[in-house]
Symmetry: C2
Subunit: 548 residues, 2 copies
């Protein structure tokens, strides 16, 4: 049996586009002699559809799209993902289903049993878990058809009390097919391969795994669809971070899986993965929002430099507009470094001083500020005048503003709300400062693009004379470790102190993280590259006093 792994990039709710892509892929795979084309979880409506699932009309449109796709399945079968209605009056109204389409009709459905409801996942919000398991058949091949999380429970501390494959395996299937929507983080591919292999080894059944590619706002899907034999070998593999279709020949008697394309070796360093993911994330955000051009404020510092370089790669240098917004506190080297970078990349750039705007707004406030000392109020006004200028240009000419804050700053609230925290999308909001340096060096891996001076100088917001980040924050090496242990690992203050971090520093940093929830609540969506990003995957009370 010839099986195609169709790893596509979908647009949520664009049934016409998704259906068109799926049908086109079915046609091209038919020409390659495929018996079956497998698409990702909820491929018909796009993943995650979120609360669109609560609209009857959305579900009706999805049903109609499945019928249209089925009507194109002649001489070839397809497995697609789409919601289906729960016929039982009790329980949630929908299932998350895999649909087997063949001979112009819907042949069978398999519903998802294990509904991820943690981090960025909300599936029990919408779906009833499946409780009846039956293999589906195609041309005499018995398929254990499951959906993503259904095969992820083979772990020491399982999140669910039962494994669908334990039931399905009793029916002696020839092959497992798992359709997925499994988002990227820099650890995910390693974890995922471990899980896929654990399944083929545990059940002694080969596995076809199909994920989607592309970004859905903050969620980045790396694809990495693959075929795994019963020894746990990867015998076929789609490319990461892009659409790709790979053909696999499955021999039911020998249970072998043979690919038409060699299994590619892929870059595996954490920083390289983050780089590729962010470039895809920026590109898809713009494409799917219907925009082409980005604007950003270029300070001469490392964060905006890395953001600009990534955006130029994602959108083309001609579509990225860098604006230097110096104040009286900006250093000459900052301006020179910013200009050098824009020139290295070949981006359009302009320099607009914030002096007039800042002075005049401060003048309006002077009667009320009286002679109170310069403090964070004046610092914030500078950052906000920058934002007004950038947004003015964005609104006038149709740019989207890129946010350039990093995860360390976002964590401790080191940034101005409605100032440098503005933007349509945050590129580095899930990248700790120490990893931003890693990205800068990676971008410079062949030749200097980001001026070395931007990399080596001490970080500063330049909002008052001689200001350095280290005036108010611990060194980033220390800060980032504390943040990682608290945010990603959910360690306690005593865990951190036991790991030899200074107690006062720990207390101060954790307090800053928890006190700044209200600020992060109003920030743009953040491209997610870690296992625990700020945003929908980390839901904290705003009014709360734990460690605060």
């Amino acid at each position: 049996m010839r099986i195609a792994l169709a790893q596509l990039n979908y647009i949520i709710g664009d049934f016409e586009l998704n259906t068109g892509k799926i049908i086109q892929t079915i046609e091209s795979c038919r020409q390659k002699g495929a018996d079956l084309v497998v698409f990702a979880e909820l491929s018909v409506c796009g993943y995650p559809p979120r609360d669109f699932l609560e609209f009857n009309d959305f579900i009706d449109k999805s049903y109609a799209a499945v019928q249209t796709i089925a009507s194109h399945c002649h001489g070839i079968a397809a497995i697609v993902g789409a919601p289906s209605r729960n016929p039982d009056a009790k329980g949630k109204n929908l299932f998350n289903s895999a649909w087997l389409l063949a001979e112009g009709k819907i042949q069978a459905l398999a519903h998802k049993a294990l509904l991820p409801t943690y981090d960025i996942f909300d599936e029990y919000r919408y779906f009833e878990p499946n409780r009846r398991f039956e293999c589906v058949s195609l041309k005499g091949v018995k398929i254990a058809l499951t959906i993503c999380e259904d095969i992820w429970n083979l772990v020491p501390d399982p999140l669910y009390i039962s494994n669908p494959m334990d039931v399905l395996a009793l029916q002696s299937p020839d092959i497992m097919i798992n359709i997925a929507a499994s988002p990227f983080n820099y650890d995910q591919q390693q974890t995922r391969l471990g899980i896929l292999r654990a399944n083929t080894v545990q059940y002694k059944i080969p596995l076809i795994y199909v994920n989607q590619a592309g970004a859905q706002t903050e969620l980045l899907f790396d694809g990495n669809s693959c075929a795994v034999d019963i020894a746990g070998n990867i015998t076929g593999h789609c490319r990461a971070f892009t659409e790709d279709t790979v053909i696999i020949d499955f021999d039911p008697s020998s249970r072998s899986l043979v690919s038409d394309t060699p299994v590619a070796t892929r870059s595996t360093s954490k920083i390289a993965l983050i780089h590729d993911a962010l470039v895809m994330g920026i590109r898809d955000y713009f494409t799917k929002m219907g925009f082409k051009k980005a604007i950003l404020g270029l300070s001469g510092g490392i964060d905006s430099a890395v953001t600009l370089a990534l955006a130029a790669e994602a959108l083309g240098k001609e579509n990225v507009y860098a604006v230097l917004l110096p104040s009286e506190f900006s250093s000459d080297h900052s301006i020179n470094d910013a200009v050098a970078l824009a020139q290295n990349l070949g981006c359009i750039y302009d320099t607009i001083s914030i002096k007039d705007g800042y002075t005049s707004i401060l003048g309006s406030l002077q009667p009320y500020f009286n002679n109170l000392p310069f403090n964070v109020a004046e610092e914030n006004i500078q950052a906000r005048v920058r934002a007004i200028i950038l947004m003015g240009l964005a609104n006038k000419f149709g740019y989207i503003l890129l946010n350039t804050s990093n995860k360390s700053e976002a964590a401790v609230g080191y940034g101005t709300l409605y100032g440098d925290m503005c933007g349509g999308i945050s590129v580095l909001g899930d990248v700790y400062k120490t990893d931003v340096y890693g990205l800068a060096n990676y971008i410079n891996r062949e030749h200097e693009i980001i001026p070395v001076n931007s990399i080596v100088k001490p970080p500063s917001a330049e909002l008052r004379p001689g200001q350095k980040d280290s005036d108010s924050l611990p060194d980033y090496e220390i800060l980032d470790q504390i943040l990682y242990n608290y945010i990603e690992l959910r360690q306690s203050p005593s865990d951190l102190v036991a790991a030899d971090f200074d107690e006062a520093t720990v207390k101060r940093v954790l307090r800053m993280v928890n006190m700044n929830e209200w600020k992060r609540h109003q920030t743009p969506p953040i491209l997610r590259v870690s296992p625990k990003a700020f945003g929908q995957g980390r839901r904290m009370p705003i009014v709360g006093r734990y460690l605060a």
Copy 2:
């Protein structure tokens, strides 16, 4: 048996404060001869604790707090809510539990079975559902102890496949006790009473129901704890929107419930409920954030007028600072109406022209804007200069900025991000424009506080000469109906057209709603008063093309 319904206002994660309040209430109820004091769901840690539940240290602290409370239960018993660890290796790590404390010790636990995971609820994110049901006993009284949603499945289209009370009822309990964290919306109390009565009538068992009071950022808890007899009569009732403790004498032989306080009649109009809820919401947001003083921009229009009046009631007129920020497009009557309102309320107010800031920022942009016609870019600059000034004052003097946008504007994206969409909390973001008028009239019910002119004049953003909302939006009577049918009722375009709305208008409005998800993503938390508010209870894709 004498049972106290202890309806308190908790702070999430403030174990010391919550424990102190609970112990104090136990002491005072002991003095009134109570045998048992009942507190709300997750009262020990505060509800909703959200992802704090993922921190082991948080759970440890909650366990310690429960032990402390238990050690005060001598001669009296208490039921409190707190998470408990799941001893089984399979499934989620926690239960959402009710703890029976007596004789200085933990006597029994009852875990929640039905875990609301829809709208603003995320409980399956954290908790394993209970599958074993057993009544608990106190002084020979058998209690069916359940948690909130556990008794909400007695409806025609049930969300869960089984009812915990069906199992517990077989054990012939004398009384049902349900501890809850049931947030307000203007329909909720009626729905809730229906559910409570349905349970007592169905199982022929009287019911004690204890909810929490107070606001947790956007979630407003109205309390309304009560005792319901087997005929469905309310025989005891705590006051709405405030802490209250009511004593009930329960006679197991007659199954009667007799209260120490008469059942109060309460205001029931939708507008009056919204008013009371918003005042509590503002007050608790400030108290729990540790702030006292609010600032807001007062335009002379209806939204900022209503927000100011509500804030003055919540925080005291001396704690609310109104700033008039006229531009060249502001009408004289707007300024006069704003001044009149501030004077009627007795609030401090100032007038700061945005002309200098606007002119000077526009001057900085002139070389780039060239002579392109005035458009939304210039309009937004005005709104953003206002925001800078307000935030400057807020930062300098420790105010929190109140957002004054209404739900109709938020829905269609009629507002400037980083401009009038700024603020620490949105007061009217869940109130449609037509209901904002209702609130204005309600505030004026005894005498004119909000100038009638602010109520009767045609709404305008006053960002260009002669601008009216009706230039770019349908009349609010029509708009709000379309929005309600789409947002609250999840109707489809064809449903709306069938209900006689103009097809082109429907299409345009729904498109505006879906296209502006990215804007709403960056807005402040919105005090929730409807069954479907923007914010955590409505989760939509940002990049998506359904009806867009």
